[in-house]
Amino acid sequence: MMEITPAHYTILSAALFSVGLIGVLVRRNIIIIFMAIELMLNAVNINLVAYANEVENLVGQVFVVFVIAVAAAEAAVGLGIILALFRNKETVNIDEMNVMRS
């Protein structure tokens, strides 16, 4: 039976962060980009909880609660913004965001 060490959590978190990062870069749907960003934030949460266990204090876990709360607030505001955009443009494709060009 293999033991799960902090290194495993770090690798999981790095992988999740990379998936999120690539998602933001390659996907064109705003909602999916936003979901990819949420993945990045959850990678941070895994890191913080794993490190909190490793360094044996609770600061990391407190940090996670704040990150979750902020992510929720951002989701509320962000979806509202996307809805306002959809009412005017009837699209959530990032490639069609080109009203302003230099």
Partner: protein
């Protein structure tokens, strides 16, 4: 009272508490008396004044409050004055703009106050969690403010772009913070500095420096993390753009200095090199892109990117003198940038958008006063004596030369020369082009007059007596911890 907190902690956050209370009152008044814009403006400004007065209660103090989460020192106070003043000027110039656009004043002032609250925590936080909460309080308010013109597709787009890139940069920043926590076991800036001192920096910390640098780079719109700035600055309501380019930038620089100078002096050589590259890229690309813009707001956006590049010189230098010069520059930047934006706001009328460069055509014949004010702000942004912008640049570039960054100073001076082209192009439009809207002079209401008056006063007075500002900045930079370690490494 929460365990571990004393009444003194609540006394030390009095400015923030007043701001929170004022914001709540504004929101309530907006429901009770929906169409009373002047009352709402009065209460919001009153809140800011009360907050400024309570910040000055703590002048000269250098303590940490709330179990080491917040610092009450001159550095925090300096930045609090900057963000409160920029919030006040923004509100004053918003009053006529809100009327023209038919926007609801209550929510608008509430969001400005909330953003200011976040900025104040960014200035005084000495713990990664506090700084991050402050940053998000500011950012979420700005996402809404950028999209405040709901029927306007440009404003929608600005909000979406700012939101997506803001949230993305937050993810990058937090990942860096989590690595720092993992390596040191603490989120307190002092604790991190202590844990890192006396050992050679690991790869993890260097990676964290890069990630946090990139995350903060987004917030200060440093190249190559600047792509959101021109679109957001162009699409957002003009007073919001003004506040974004001054308040948000100042607060982000405060947070950047706190993190890098206070917590990470052990890797000063690494981040100093990182910011050297960012500073050169930022000022050069910002200035070159500004040369060809035809939209005034977009041009000011690129100009603001270039100014972020100049400001980064202070971070690269990283000495007390460098940081003090940077604070001086932020102080003068506040007046000249907000002044220029106030003129753009005044151009907006019911039938004219007024943010294209050609709308300025013949402004001298239409409203000579407005043209002269714009001339002053443009000269100051370009760094022509005897304006404040010149003194700011002299100090900043001088600090770079003193610390041995001669090439950086040379590049910055060359950039200032390039920037004169597009600032003077505005002047050429105002004096030499034909009248865009003949016979309709700009009208300045009382609020706008006060805002412009303060901006002019700051630009002129600090150009002639810059010592006033420099003494404050020197005291503020002196309270930032961690210089000794930084200097020892060089």
């Amino acid at each position: 009272m929460p365990a571990g907190f004393s009444a003194l902690d609540f006394y030390y956050i009095l400015p923030e508490l007043l701001l929170t209370g004022g914001a709540m009152v504004v929101l309530l008044l907006a429901v009770l008396t929906p169409r009373n814009d002047n009352l709402l403006l009065g209460v919001s400004l009153g809140t800011l004044v009360a907050s400024v007065l309570s910040v000055s209660l703590f002048s000269g103090l250098d303590v940490t409050a709330a179990r080491g989460l917040l610092a009450v020192d001159s550095f925090a106070a300096f930045f609090k004055f900057i963000v409160l003043l920029s919030a006040g000027l923004t509100m004053l110039m918003s009053a006529p703009y809100l009327r023209v656009e038919g926007l609801k004043a209550g929510e608008y002032y509430f969001l400005i106050l909330c953003a200011t609250l976040g900025m104040m925590f960014m200035a005084s936080g000495v713990d990664l969690i506090t700084l991050f909460i402050g940053l998000e309080t500011m950012a979420v308010s700005f996402y809404i403010l950028a999209g405040f013109l709901k029927p306007n597709p440009r404003s929608n787009e600005a909000a979406v772009k700012y939101f997506l890139l803001g949230a993305f940069s937050l993810g990058v920043l937090l990942y860096g913070m989590s690595l720092v926590y993992g390596a040191t076991g603490t989120t307190s800036l002092q604790g991190i500095a202590v844990a890192l001192s006396g050992q050679s920096p690991s790869m993890v910390i260097v990676l964290a420096v890069v990630l946090i640098g990139a995350g903060m780079g987004f917030k200060i719109a440093a190249v190559p993390f600047h792509m959101w700035a021109p679109d957001v600055y162009e699409g957002a309501p003009t007073p919001v753009t003004a506040f974004l380019s001054v308040g948000s930038k100042a607060a982000s620089f405060a947070m950047l200095l706190r993190i890098f100078v206070e917590a990470l002096p052990a890797v000063a050589a690494d981040w100093s090199a990182l910011f050297w590259v960012l500073a050169v890229l930022t000022m050069t690309l910002g200035n070159i892109a500004a040369l060809t813009q035809s939209n005034l707001k977009r041009m000011l956006a690129y100009s603001s990117i270039a100014h972020a590049g100049y400001l980064l010189i202070g971070v690269v230098v990283g000495t007390e003198r460098g940081v003090a010069s940077m604070l001086v520059y932020l102080g003068v930047y506040l007046f000249m940038q907000l002044g220029a934006f106030a003129i753009v706001v005044a151009m907006r009328r019911s039938d004219v958008v007024g943010d294209e460069l050609k709308d300025l055509g013949g402004l001298f014949r239409r409203s000579p006063a407005a043209a002269f004010m714009m001339l002053l702000f443009m000269l100051s942004l370009g760094g022509i004596p005897p304006t404040a912008g010149f003194m700011g640049k002299v100090w900043l570039f001088g600090a770079a030369v003193d610390a041995g960054f001669v090439w950086l100073a040379v590049i910055a001076v060359a950039n200032s020369a390039v920037s004169l082209y597009y600032y003077l192009r505005v002047v050429v439009f105002m004096w030499m082009h034909e009248d865009a809207q003949p016979g309709s002079p700009l009208v300045f209401g009382p609020a706008m007059t006060v805002a412009l008056g303060i901006a002019i006063l700051g630009t002129v007075v600090f150009g002639i007596y810059p010592q006033l500002l420099f003494e404050q900045a020197q005291a503020a930079a002196g309270t930032l911890e961690g210089f000794s370690a930084t200097v020892a490494l060089r």
